[in-house]
Symmetry: C2
Subunit: 303 residues, 2 copies
């Protein structure tokens, strides 16, 4: 099978939600922007909908015949791009189960295990290698460097450098920069989640991602912005399988974020730096605490 038609299936599912009986679907180009796909894909969707009896399609008219049933939707797992499937499987393996540093990773085995071709796995590994967790031995296997305390420390050290720089740049943004509006939007979102923290603490991850990305962007430096991808993916997967103390941890972090945001709004560099350092230190602590203790890490160094 050459290409998965996940783009088609996902867009089809989203298009189903646009159906309103009695009305007509918008024009093809309009559907393109709405669904974020090309016209070719839109037309495939329309054809498929005709076959399913969902619409009647004649040139400009695309009259909706019946509301979509549950069975009209493609199962969700069929809509995930292959690259994401591979990423998830892989991350699960190395951040969860026994993945010790020095482990050899072989493309063929991984491919067989996930049930995809070697090319896809290979390309994933190349893309993933920029995160510093694996390394290639040319003409041979990949080596896992491991998500160790050492790794976490190196990651966080750079993060701190970059975030401090970005935060300092943030206060110098012109007053009419959209970032200020977005910052206020984010502040409110924080307040809302905080008000109902017991049931909504899991939403913190998303707020965290948005706030930090907004700040990194102020640096105007692509390397700083791109580096945040590494942090994001590591934190994302790590905490996804490591939910101990999540409620307290997130509650505390939201308060820190609010302080941080307030500090940014004062535009006083010292206040910003203080709030930033405080929050970063606490993020460092909670990541380090959730990792296996140093004794193990020491043993790893030997290999």
């Amino acid at each position: 099978m050459p290409k998965q038609n996940t783009v088609f299936k996902d867009a089809y599912n989203r298009c189903l939600r646009l159906l309103v009986v009695g009305e007509s679907l918008p024009s093809e180009p309009e559907l393109c922007t709405l669904l974020g796909v090309s016209r070719t894909t839109v037309r495939s969707i329309l054809s498929q909908m005709v076959e399913a009896g969902l619409i009647e399609w004649n040139k400009r008219s695309k009259a909706v015949q019946r509301p979509p049933a549950k069975t009209d939707f493609f199962p969700e797992h069929e809509t995930n791009p292959l690259s994401e499937v591979i990423e998830r499987t892989f991350m699960k393996r190395i951040l969860m189960g026994g993945a010790e540093p020095g482990l050899q990773i072989n493309e063929l085995e991984l491919a067989r295990e996930i049930g995809v071709g070697t090319t896809s796995v290979r390309e994933f590994l190349i893309r993933f290698s920029r995160f510093g967790l694996i390394e290639k031995r040319p003409n041979s296997h990949w080596v896992l460097k491991g998500f160790t305390r050492q790794f976490a420390e190196e990651l966080i050290d750079v993060r701190e450098m970059f975030e401090l720089k970005s935060a300092a740049a943030f206060v110098n943004l012109p007053t009419d920069d959209p970032a200020w509006t977005e910052l206020e939007v984010l502040r409110r979102a924080h307040v809302e989640v905080l008000a109902d923290i017991d049931s909504r603490y899991l939403e913190f991850s998303e707020l965290d991602d948005r706030l930090h990305r907004l700040i990194q962007q102020a640096s105007g430096n692509r390397f700083i912005v791109d580096f945040y991808d590494i942090i994001a993916i590591v934190f994302h997967y790590h905490y996804q399988w490591n939910k101990s103390n999540a409620r307290e941890r997130n509650g505390k972090a939201i308060l820190e974020h609010l302080d941080y945001i307030e500090a940014l709004k004062t535009r006083r560099p010292e206040a910003v730096e203080a709030a930033c350092r405080l929050h970063l230190l606490s993020a460092r602590m909670s990541l380090m605490q959730s990792l296996p203790p140093a004794a193990l890490a020491a043993a790893e160094v030997v290999q």
Copy 2:
């Protein structure tokens, strides 16, 4: 053609230089370490040498029959790994000839132009994307962001952050760390090249690379060390096609390096920071001066 046999050809050429008439080649495992390839490849080389009448091979004895002639060597271009060929062609195109930001890059066209399969090009682009010069539009083409002044500035900003951090870490290395020995070796190499600067100024690139890598390594941070790859590749290709003022530029830089090295040897943080800043500033200047003027860069922003 599945795999190029560049590994074989390159190792064969290098092995030819080991031939001494009347003697026997060392054991297979020994040749492996000598040539840096597997035993399978070594055995292919030996077989080929037998066919060429260069040696007689019987179990442990590999008696050399005649010295290698020029015609025994594979032409050099056949020994370049495919990935390097692609890299060179690509860099030539984007750092030299009219490669404006926003340019669409398509895999198929590149592949045809270089005369390789799309997979190889694709993998190269994925690897290369970490340098921040190109960006992928999924299911569609790549976009060239361009080697602009903006790019150079972002690159150098991060470089300065990292180098200052690394240099600071360097002075704290234990006295018996091998880096100190290597630093001395490098110092002497600098002095030697300087003594004959008029004819050897081109050797500066290599010294530069070695010195800065040595320093970055002191940071003990893989992200800092890895980042140097970006700097190295950009400087490497850029100055390779931009040799104006190379003699003066390099002469000046060598003097700065020597100051920098001396400062490191004093282990005085302030001295190191001063020398480091001085050198980085001058590196920044010369890179920026060799780029097209800001007027052009401004026009690029519009697109």
